[in-house]
Amino acid sequence: MQIYRGHVLICAGTGCVASGSKKVQAEMANQLEAFNLENDIKIVETGCHGFCEMGPIVIVYPEGIFYCQVKMEDVKEIVEEHLLKGRPVKRLLFRDQMTEEMVPHYRDIDFYKKQNRIVLGNCGFINPENIKEYIARDGYEALAKALTQMTPEQVIDEVKASGLRGRGGGGFPTGLKWQFARDAKGDKKYVICNADEGDPGAFMDRSVLEGDPHALIEGMAIAAYAIGSDEGYIYVRAEYPLAIKRLQIAIAQAHELGLLGKDIFGSGFNFKLNIKEGAGAFVCGEETALIASIEGRRGEPRVRPPFPANKGLWGKPSNVNNVETFANVPRIIAKGSQWYAGMGTEKSKGTKVFALTGKVKNTGLAEVTMGLTLREIIFEIGGGIIDDKKFKAVQIGGPSGGCIPEQLLDLPIDYDSLISAGAMMGSGGLVVMDEDTCMVELARFFLNFTQMESCGKCTPCREGTKIMLDILERITKGEGKEGDIELLESLAKTIKSTSLCGLGQTAPNPVLATLRYFRDEYEAHIKEKRCPAGVCTALASYSILEDKCIGCTACARVCPVNAISGEVKKPHKIDPAKCIKCGACAQACKFNAIVKK
């Protein structure tokens, strides 16, 4: 084996590829050759580091120097200065946003300091297309341990004792779910991975699939052994082509080494894994709909019971877990349930990966121990709000969840605390909103999504979400009426209690949560015909501040409906009857004389 004196890790996750990491990698190969370093320094194409905002990310080992937003033109300097002469390129180091100081080392960056990367432990460190790199980091050790030293019951007991709960949203105890599938009678059982990550604003599963696919495969194999299954399916969104490609490579490599297939580790255990590509339907994240889709039918959910544990794929007992849940399993088996249960809160153990996005300075994936507060995640890991604006709320749990306002920022996050605050863990999307976000408009946005994705099978969801959306659209257009809020609440209650599946049962949550914490914004829209955040165009009004306007006529020239009049060098005026509120004047004004209310 060839020994290299250094490694250059280049992120090849979707985020960094979109920012140009492929070009950086090609140039790195060229430059290493140009400086005759190709036998000294090895390039490793890794999965996602989670700090997508700063991509393309390049890390140089053994030093662990972290370069961010690296461009093709920067590569020569990195090779010549750092790799050849040993002097890190200062201008490309990460700068702390608070102190403006350079932070050369990965582990010292605030974004990573508070994190506890277990599920994402390999993401960004190994080449996901090479199984040997996974094995070198103790990969497949847990599967060997389970197959050769433990009975299926012991595996289930270990997972139960760890306190692991489903990371897809519901938070059901994983060990218990496995127990149900094990106890179910049947000659054939299936293990299914839900990789149909559909929540807008969540991409942690994508990163695991792209950055550490073997962790998922190993977790699924352990689950199969525990419940007595010999075949599994991974249901992946078709929108994730790179994830599908990496999974295919990983499965093929695991087969080659005998880690999938027949008689694994000589234990007599067989396991075959299939990939099913989804075709674009949010409702397929619901387990019975997902199963229908694998069977080649319309992805419509059905009434439970019978639960998939008894009657799942092709009518056989099946166990469905999400990607992050499975990826936790090898670590639990390898290190033991005691270790895992030692992290987190009383009822929520381990870590959770959050996708931190929206109006926050550091966007990306953050894996934290359960029980950390939202304030720590948003202001320490996330670095606070962009342009130092005022924090307003954070949406957690996607379209099934709710928003958490400022007064609850010190809430320790776990499954139960979020439910009592009117939100839910969901898949772990955290979308941060500042003072410029209209909460009524946000509720409308989510209802629009769930209404479009409603499969139409049951009436409360199909009709109910449509009516709620109609009301919200009216309110944001300034046509809200007295009684709308009460009607929304009553519809929400009915839809929640009578819908067939989780999609409908949680669809009203964004409305209920915004009503709970921001009722005054709804009232301002309905009673005063005013949007406090200034977002709803129909309710906005533009006016010119006389003391700031110098009469340059720039606004009048861009106004498409000639609503602005005035003499040159004298303050202008906007005719509200003509104004269509397009905002062109405010953009054209160089003196900040035009205000929107």
Binding site: V17, G198, A238, E239, K276, E295, G296, V431
Partner: protein, 158 residues
Amino acid sequence: MGKCCCGSDCQDSRFTEILEQYKGKDGVLIPVLQKAQEIKGYLPEETIRAIADYFNKPYSEVYGVATFYAQFRLKPSGENIIRVCAGTACHVRGGKKILDKVCSELNVAPGETSADGKFSLEPVACLGACGLAPVMMINDTTYGRLTPEKVTEILAKY
């Protein structure tokens, strides 16, 4: 090469090969439709009929599946497919302005194909690249941190 069984005179045996590949297997409808769409660019009625006949299923069932999933197109698409992310992160970072810009540049509404047949604008819930919001994808390439001005530049490349 034999005549294609897709119902048209396309002389393309790839479609027939796909049908044969999945013959006698369970749960194949979605992959067959996906592969058929890859070859033809969309799913014409005669193709849906041919699939239904081949797998001995009612036309209504195959049509039902083809219309359930967002991925399937029943009309021909443009040369390039644009997906503007409508996810939450993109929404709060101005995704709507990106969509409006694409619509006005190409003079299309979501779900439509431009008059010159060069671009189709398809709806998508979330592209999962939230760290780079707002985002759009053209074919398999993801473009992040977009501004309306960047949209014009990017579209000009195609």
